[in-house]
Symmetry: C2
Subunit: 255 residues, 2 copies
Amino acid sequence: MSLVLTPLSNFPLIEPGDDLAELLIHSLEATDIQIADGDILVLAQKIVSKAEGRLVNLSTVEPSARANELGEITKKDARLLELILRESRAVLRTGLNTIIVEHRLGFICANAGIDHSNVRGPWGKEEDWVLLLPEDPDASARRLQEQIYAHSHIHIGVSIIDSHGRAWRNGTVGVTIGLAGVPGVVDMRGVPDLFGFRLRITQIGAADELAAAASLMMGQAAEGSPAVHVRGFPYALRNSTLTEIIRPKEQDLFR
Amino acid sequence: MSLVLTPLSNFPLIEPGDDLAELLIHSLEATDIQIADGDILVLAQKIVSKAEGRLVNLSTVEPSARANELGEITKKDARLLELILRESRAVLRTGLNTIIVEHRLGFICANAGIDHSNVRGPWGKEEDWVLLLPEDPDASARRLQEQIYAHSHIHIGVSIIDSHGRAWRNGTVGVTIGLAGVPGVVDMRGVPDLFGFRLRITQIGAADELAAAASLMMGQAAEGSPAVHVRGFPYALRNSTLTEIIRPKEQDLFR
């Protein structure tokens, strides 16, 4: 049994208010994919965020004193830093052109996941528009899962992903920021290995492995597709939320 | 175009001295896969390490004073800690049952990647055998690539992977520890986004995204396969080494 990841073809540019479930259903048809129980759709956060209207024009943002301070350190736009602070619980590291935060959703990432590329707003200079992450990506994923079930009576999983930098290693990789139906972590405790020993590795980051796989097929430029269909995911689908994947602060050795 | 990952079926248990290239070629045939230029084989480190005879019996290891000290802190076997120290450049964090090091190959991981599961040695108690990582995984990957080319005149990429824990997030994911032909990092600097802006994300961790994808299809228990065939990798194959993926210490904010 193979794992097959297929980018949906000709996926349209998303505008605030778009019905993402409907666009996904149309795009699956256009790509000639019949969804089946156990399939997964992996979505780039930007299409979910845009459909949900999470665009902000920087000219409407008043930087706080803290944002101005961070502007001195990072040389980033203080209005962008203000938005980053509003979307974060804590600032972990700063440097020239760098700010790493604990996002209000729990994960650690640069710029609170606020995106400046592939963003176009309804008014003003295009370069002033930025895109925040979805308000509640788990809820967004669950809603899409339910809408697709209502339309097709097929149970699929939905994962919403972003690209994050990492400690210690170069290059960004796709990671989960919200999910429905996809197990966040698969617990192998007690499973025997080939010789009957207990397994050394007991928790597999299955949702993030899937996120990385799908991210490969999204690309980052014009030819990429922000929605990838997955067949052959090797673990059973079940209810899950992002909290499964976030290591509690007190158990983290690298804050 | 889809990305298709197929675990090789009935891959044999590897013994020291086995000809891995030959076993891979047989197993590809048994799985009914005809390799083509641009395909990639992703291999779990343990089959490479075992074929290379990287088994050590703990009863032959004399712990140093430093290993005994770390034994007090971590409550791990001091002989295992001695091997971990020999395979490492630096110890980054220690705790109960935890030791995170900078491996001599450059990456950060737990236990210097020394594996105690799925290991069986030629003599003594089975639980005394451990498996070190390959001596030079880039060279191992390149050798396999060349052996497969010599046999088939097909240019494939080869990636050797392990499962690593991560800062901030629960669950292990597959990561690259050696490669041949697979780009470690894909540089998107200067590539325009959908609206002609420069891309925010400029370095894609393509080899590690592939490692995570393949790891999904390896599983960790008896039913998994340690070798995965990949077709449809979206970036051009080219020469690369692990050093592309390792962030230099002085650029790392999370040591």
